[in-house]
Symmetry: C2
Subunit: 303 residues, 2 copies
């Protein structure tokens, strides 16, 4: 077995993922938990990290590179922001050292768009971007990164020019759980209704202004015509993703679109792009963040 060279951590709002990595990028060990920023803020970031380091048998002195909300103001150590237009290479250079630790721990900064007409921030996705595009990406790119807060990023020549965050995932969550539509989706099983999803995507994509009406139709449609809870859930999902695509694709992309996503989100967004006849190249979100963290480790410690 090869020797570990560094430790990579993706520390989000509600999730923690750690990888023990060798010089060639192979993963030697891995940890996943729900001790994201929210939980770690109470337990102590150092305490959480130490317990995972022990569990994975990390040797003393191995350096650690971290991305995500651990670098937020409410996180462990504030890692600030690189400002747009943001060179991806600057992310590597502006990593912040966590002081008073018995090993070298660095947290990567986020990216901020200080435009009063479109203020925006990301933290964690910049590392996925780095991994997806590479530090010296010469081409134009439009990158869609779905999630609780989806990001759409325009990059060119290794620089993030603009980006926009959409509350799609969080809206899906509260609309399905906390509104009158919760009755329509109650009891939804894993069964998928691809047709319901696709028609909802098309409807919202073509008439985004009607989003709040299309959502209500999930209820009135069930009342007047019946339909399964799963189909209601897929309609809510399709409406919100179609709305997001209408904005993300409002300006014709200069280049092909890159979708950075995993699992169910990857499947749904791929389907949504197919439905709107927009070709995309898909990259796994976790691959992308690990690759980004590897680039940072290589740049900082030459490992």
């Amino acid at each position: 077995m090869s020797e570990a060279a560094y430790i990579a951590v993706d520390w989000g709002t509600s999730s923690f993922r750690l990888w023990l990595v060798d010089r060639t990028g192979n993963v030697l060990g891995e940890r996943r938990s729900h001790e994201g920023m929210m939980a770690a803020g109470k337990l102590g970031f150092s305490t959480v990290l130490q317990s995972h380091l022990r569990a994975v048998g990390a040797a003393d002195g191995l350096p650690i590179v971290i991305c995500g909300m651990a670098g937020a103001r409410q996180g462990w150590v504030e890692a600030g922001y690189v400002e747009t237009p943001a060179r991806l290479a600057s992310i590597l250079k502006q990593a912040v050292v966590v002081q008073g630790q018995d090993r070298d721990i660095r947290i990567l900064p986020g990216i901020a768009q200080r435009d009063p007409k479109a203020p925006d921030v990301m933290r964690g996705e910049e590392t996925q971007l780095l991994g997806a595009l590479g530090v010296d990406a010469a081409d134009d790119a439009l990158v869609c990164m779905p999630g609780t807060h989806s990001k759409w990023v325009r990059a060119s020549g290794g620089t993030v020019e603009r980006f926009a965050t959409f509350m799609t995932g969080e809206l899906f969550d509260v609309v399905s759980r906390e509104t009158i539509l919760s009755h329509a989706v109650a009891g939804a099983d894993e069964g998928e209704d691809v047709d319901a999803f696709k028609s909802a995507v098309v409807a919202a994509f073509e008439a985004p202004a009607f989003a709040a009406n299309l959502l209500f139709q999930v209820r009135s449609g069930q009342l007047l015509y019946g339909g399964t809870p799963s189909s209601a859930r897929e309609k809510i999902s399709g409406t919100l993703i179609g709305l997001e695509l209408a904005a993300g694709l409002a300006e014709a992309p200069k280049a092909g679109i890159m979708l950075v996503a995993s699992g169910r989100l990857q499947m749904l967004y791929q389907l949504a792009f197919d439905t709107t006849s927009v070709p995309v190249r898909s990259i796994g979100a976790e691959d992308a963040v690990r690759r980004g963290l590897a680039m940072a480790a290589h740049s900082i410690w030459n490992v």
Copy 2:
């Protein structure tokens, strides 16, 4: 004091309002409570009604006309729907008698739009419409009725041709309380920020596809530029109302717009219409429903 001729009740999902009315439409007594359909379903509709009749001193035998969710399937007695294109006069004719009562009690039906591409229902608003337009309205009308579930109605020659429901009020509620934006609005006071509201209306009205992004900007804007919780609340409100107006006004209205609303909603929607330079005629929502119930009472009992 003149003599009571009938009792009018607006029985919604979460509110109950009762008026004791004389032959000329004067209100002789009034009751308001939170015993809407939800509460009355548990307490018993008859029990709730009797207690308010006693409190207002209603004489035996006075007839009662009711509109709203008391006529829903989960309500007291299902009053069905008039289907679009729905003559307003049909609402009066299809009132349902509540059986087994010691006085004449009628519940007015709702309106359903059985269009698989735009299924929709209303219950209670049809009576407001009746009051706002009159039973023999000859003109074209576009009526905006804001609320938890806002209704936009196209009527012509006394007939409801089409309508659409928008979940605007409910979305405002869950987005402000249950998402990351709850931090941005925490501690908001009664103070208003008219400018924040107006710019949010314009932004969403002009680029409705970006609604989920404009909502996120409430947070990122506060993070990067500061701003009060009240201003954050007004931005959420303005974004969602601007989105609704973008849909409601997508097709140029054939006639002037009528706004049926009261209180704070009346103020906000009036401001939103002003901001988008759309003239509206405003009618109080409660006046409208009382007038509609009076028309029903007159038509049924000639009182």
